[in-house]
Every structure is written in C-alpha cells, then in structure tokens.
C-alpha cells in the first residue's frame, strides 16, 4: 500500500455537495461513486443527478431514507442511465420520477460489489486502489459536532445510519486515517470531508462497503 492515496488527486472526484434537509445520503454516496467510476473510465468528470435516484429508485424512500445496496441493485439490474445534475437538478424533496427516452445520453454502471471488511481494513484499502472510491455506511451520530481532526472515538460499529464515500487514506502520520467525503456541504468538517482512523473499524466504516464497476 502507498503511504497516502486520494482519488481526488487523480481528478475523479466531484465537488462536495449538500443534501440540505433531505435524508438522501444513500443517494448522494451512490451517485458520487458513479461519478468517479465514470471519470475513471475516461469520460469527463461531471455531476450526475442525485434527484433521479431519489425520485426513481423504487425500493427506497427518497428524502425519507434509503439503502445504498437497494440503489446499486436498481442501477445495475435496470441498467438505469443516470443523467447529468443539470438536466435533473436536486430539489431537496421527493418528486415524481422523470423518464428519459432510451436514446437520451446517460451513464449506467456495469455492476457493483458489497462486502464487510471489518478486521480487514488493509484489504479494503487495496480494493479502494483497484476499484475506486468506496461507498460506506457509518455511525455518524457524533459527526453532528465534528470540526476536524481524526475521528477515533464517540461512534460505534453495528449502528450504521449514514452513507458516505471513502476517497482515500493517509498513513503518513499517526494514527493513519481514511479520507471520507460527506454530503453536508463544504463548510462542514475538513472542506466537507471527515478523517476517520484506519484500523479498529471506527464508526463501522468497514462493515458495509460497496464499489461500483464500469
């Protein structure tokens, strides 16, 4: 493993977004992973529509909550074409699903993987290197008050409630940490990111990990 790695340095991570008062973190993390997968496949880095996932992913509850696994399953099985954020912008509330003709351009994923990496965070880091940014579900209750630094305490595994995207890690100092992109705007945390200690499955970061294939 390299000492430090961040997919942002490869210019395949879009800007941090703000879910506002919409409980759509599950959609934000899945769409962010799709954006990075698309950029890694050689297409331009572009914000894709979170609202499309919120409105159309039928197994979920839009701004009232959802599951990253259900959303990935829907995207993959239905070969949904995600359109750009400009075409289907975020409204921070549930809406009627808008359909586009088959000829309309959009990005679809080829598949996804979903694993539990608890006690295997080194393996998780290897998968991050090969598969791109990882969707994870964490216990983020104490993140309400987070300003910066490395989160090492005050959260637990087995209490997952918030979906985010791991874009990299830093092992140059002590303790090593995961670089985690959140969807609460860039004024939250470290420019919209959190740093979570690597090892020990802090906040359950390794319990529910998904990667998108293109």
């Amino acid at each position: 493993l390299p000492l430090r790695f961040d997919w942002r340095d490869k210019h395949v991570v879009t800007q941090v977004r703000n879910q506002q008062a919409c409980g759509g973190c599950w959609a934000f993390s899945v769409v962010a992973a799709a954006e990075s997968a698309r950029a890694r496949a050689g297409q331009p880095l572009e914000a894709l529509s979170v609202q499309q996932v919120i409105d159309c992913s039928y197994d979920n509850y839009g701004c009232s909550g959802g599951s990253t696994l259900s959303a990935l399953n829907w995207l993959s099985k239905m070969q949904v074409k995600l359109v750009s954020d400009l075409e289907y912008p975020f409204t921070a509330q549930n809406g009627l699903c808008r359909y586009f003709p088959a000829s309309h351009s959009g990005f679809s994923i080829k598949g996804y993987s979903a694993y539990n990496f608890s006690d295997q965070e080194d393996e998780m880091a290897k998968v991050l290197l090969t598969s791109g940014p990882l969707i994870v579900i964490v216990d983020a209750v104490s993140w309400q008050d987070y300003l910066g630094g490395i989160i090492q305490h005050h959260c637990s595994s087995g209490e997952a409630n918030h979906a985010v995207l791991v874009t990299g890690f830093d092992r140059t100092g002590s303790p090593p940490y995961w670089i985690v992109r959140n969807s609460w705007g860039s004024s939250w945390g470290v420019d919209g990111y959190a740093h979570v200690k690597m090892g020990g499955n802090v906040c359950g970061i390794a319990d529910s990990v998904s990667a998108v294939f293109v």
């Binding site: 300003l147 005050h154 918030h162 979906a163």
Partner: protein, 80 residues
Amino acid sequence: QTATPTPPRGRHPPAAFRESLNRHRYLNSLFPRENSTAVYGINQFSYLFPEEFKAIYLRSRASRFPRYPADVQKAIPNVS
C-alpha cells in the same frame, strides 16, 4: 476556527444550542492528549437536538454484507 452560524430563519432553539455546547465540552475533554484527535464544536447543526439531527440527516438503512473473501495465504512447503 469557524464563524458562528446563525440559526435557521424562524427558529431559535437556544436549548438545543446550549445542549450542543455542553456536548462539545464533553466530547473534547475525553482524549485531549491523543494524536490529531477530532475536535468538536459549533457548526451548522448546533441548533438541532441530536434526535432532530438523526431524524433529518441519518437516514441510511443498513444491510448485512457478506465477509470479504481475502486470498488466504498458504505457507510454501520446503522446496529447493
């Protein structure tokens, strides 16, 4: 380090803010000597009670994921 955010228009729940300040004091007091430990303080969510924060922002449903099948490393027998 950050400017104090103003409460959302039409809402001024001082009790939630007071509770946040107490919580920050508690969270920051527990591991003060640890390397690069996280810092907790006033941000855009300080005007919410934890229950409100959880109800609005923490809406991801968790599922049970299968364990990652890492390659098992086997010892190489003695060979010339």
